[in-house]
Symmetry: C2
Subunit: 441 residues, 2 copies
């Protein structure tokens, strides 16, 4: 079965994924002589850096998501479809999707990354990931459900277990999530749950490396550690989680384990690439090996950008670029220009990464920020963090809603509305399926 | 198994339901010598009059819901539990719930109403109800999914079918939903779906009676009919829907049927009362027969308020009061005073309904409003409608968010973010279960 797409004489660029890279690319092709087909399993772009605030009740999904159709309304050469891509067939120049087969002239894999459990199946079955809005909402529901359930628990150990959290991974996501949980414990939950002894709530942050925020400066690592410990988070460095049965978290240290009803896994990501490409096309972390023009090795019509790609061509970044939004956006923008060059027979421009620095927030008035030699912390870094996130958020309405929420939370010490709209059931799949392609009627 | 609740020497008032009636009652008992236990299957109060705006993408759930725990933070005699009540045992003075058995001294059934399909099983299986936030979100997802699916439909009839809507019931919910769909068709959907021929989108409103808004003045009925027709809604009066197989809507007129992929049922409600009370305790519409003090007939310790109750004691309302928020709130407030009187041995005060009039909105600048002899329409009624809804909405943050959304929509002709967060699957149950009572760990 073929997917139904408008017929044109223009060459077709198929972009899989409406993340940061995919949308910059599609925008860059606005006036180009291509038919641009974007596929995504959701009908919206997700602003992933703020997912942790959805998980912890600070923001609602509608303020960090933006409908892809609305984003490209008025771009005449742009076609959007909700679809899950199951396989790429480079020989046939087609992809297999949930809405049927789609032919391409150029294919761009901008599918981002997914959670990497490093083969720990038992952990995967019981841990909560945080890469999509449904996953973040599931985590939020689970946290609230555990506090509700604690009221009905007669066994004291089980009661306390429901109030214990282990966050695995000391990167920005792990640090920000642990900080947000600590603020919930301090300012929000005691008012909601007067019957519970909130001193029993514990937040553990476990990191395999010897410092937090390993990609940032030593100063940022130290500042974030100090800030988290001041908030009451227990930080365990040089510690690797080895198992989790839904109750007991084991580590590589024989004398260290945790009892916790909630384990949040932010310890690693891997390329989220559809099947069909040969092993030789991949580099480590299931990322596609690309040349300086984001072309997949040995596949002249297939490109990969962002988290799904690994480019070793730039001398300053022999191990590839960081898997962050700016890298994906810059690659998307350049690839748009290069596809136009390719079409014209003009020479392609190699990618040069402009490092915009990095940052992480820990809590109220607490953040760290590195930009080249410049290191900032505290209130100024926190304000900078908010400014940058508002700037990159898509849509004026979203910016307005997020800013309103942040100001409200700042002055009231409260967080959004703690609603369990869809109770989370552990036996359900964590990710909801894409919209059914065929009509149920 | 007994539910775990704090032990006190105070008599226990158990309130089932955190709707308008339940919260007014609990607030009225703030300083009373009772332990007040509120049970609800959700952890939030739902502002039902704006559910239709959640269904049609105008508002997000967080702005029309308010967490019950937060509402009563600081009220020392108040206990909240998420629980589903399965049965009442009047002889034993206990109720059976999903978190175990709960004893009561006084029981208040404030469970509101549920959709009444009048025994049409086939309609119930395929129609979308709109009484809860999960139901409204399901409807929103389904509407958007149908437009997405229409792109992949090769059969022209099936393609158009996906763009056809039948709203059953000409009360405020039906009128407001049909109006909101018409505005989506006019201002929002053409930008999102340039590949579809939106002229094929049809909205039918079917009402069994001979006018819309039957509970309002004739002027309001006529004005709302004219306004809906001007917006392009097809209104069918004196028409009763008799069946729906997911595709064809049949009516009591042999020559009238509709093809539509979406049927929204707003044609009736019925009392949503737990099992265990004898048939003699009920009046029509499965509402509990109550005396002038909201006491269930023959059950001195059981009360019912709001939509779940039917009181014929007030001479001006021999068929009972309208099933609207003000009636429930006024009954809740009076019952709080009467429970205190009962406890003191003081005489009880009979209920007297203060009719605050009624209103419905059709679209931008279009609403109708009746207050006694006063009838308003157009812009002034529309502004009045917004003012009253903001006033009764709970929480300053909610008011701020709703007002921001309304102002934004007014000037941009756009509606919120059209996200399909959880795709709706017709084979799933429409209502999500209450949070599991026992810990999964």
């Amino acid at each position: 079965m073929k997917a139904i797409l408008p017929l044109t004489n223009l060459p077709r660029v198929v972009i899989i994924g409406g993340g940061f890279g995919g949308i910059k690319l599609a925008q860059g092709l606005k006036k180009a002589p291509f038919q641009v087909v974007m596929l995504d399993r959701h009908n919206y772009h997700t602003f992933q850096p703020l997912l942790y605030q959805v998980s912890t009740g600070g923001l609602e999904p509608d303020s960090i998501a933006f409908p892809l159709r609305k984003m490209f309304a008025g771009q005449d050469n742009f076609i959007f479809r909700i679809a899950e891509v199951s396989a790429v067939d480079p020989a046939g120049q087609v992809i297999q999707t949930s809405i049927g087969e789609i032919e391409y002239d150029y294919l761009v894999i901008a599918t981002g990354s997914k959670t990497n459990y490093f083969g720990l199946k038992e952990v995967e079955a019981h841990a909560m990931g945080m890469k999509t809005i449904p996953e973040s909402l599931n985590l939020r529901s689970l946290i609230l459900q555990h506090f509700e359930q604690a009221h009905q628990e007669t066994d004291v150990d089980d009661k306390h277990l429901l109030m214990k959290f282990v966050v695995v991974g000391g990167g920005p996501t792990g640090v920000e999530t642990a900080g947000a949980l600590a603020e919930l414990k301090r300012h929000v939950l005691p008012n909601d749950y007067p019957e519970l002894d909130l001193r029993q709530m514990e937040i553990h942050l476990v990191e395999a490396g010897d410092q937090l925020l390993g990609n940032m400066t030593d100063k940022s690592s130290e500042d974030s550690l100090a800030a988290l410990e001041k908030l009451g988070v227990h930080v365990w460095l040089d510690t690797r989680v080895t198992g989790y049965d839904g109750r007991v978290v084991t580590t590589d240290k024989t004398d260290l384990q945790f009892d916790a009803a909630t384990l949040i896994w932010a310890a690693g990501i891997m390329g989220n690439v559809p099947e069909g490409l040969p092993k030789s096309a991949f580099d480590r972390g299931t990322r596609l090996a690309v040349d300086a023009y984001n072309r997949v090795i040995d596949h002249p019509r297939i490109f990969a950008i962002g988290d799904a790609a690994l480019m070793r061509a730039e001398a300053a970044w022999p191990n590839g670029h960081p898997q962050v939004a700016p890298a994906a956006m810059q690659q998307g923008t350049l690839l748009a220009a290069n596809l136009i060059n390719l079409h014209k027979g003009a020479p392609l421009k190699p990618f040069v990464y402009f490092d915009k620095g990095s940052m992480a927030t820990i809590g109220r008035n607490k953040a760290v920020m590195d930009f080249g030699a410049l290191h900032l912390k505290g209130l100024i870094a926190w304000l900078g963090w908010m400014f940058v996130h508002l700037l990159f958020l898509i849509g004026m309405r979203n910016r307005l809603v997020v800013l309103t929420n942040w100001i409200w939370s700042y002055f009231t010490y409260d967080k959004g509305n703690r609603l369990i709209i869809r109770p989370y059931q552990k036996n359900l799949p964590e990710e909801t399926p894409a919209v059914p392609a065929t009509s149920p009627v």
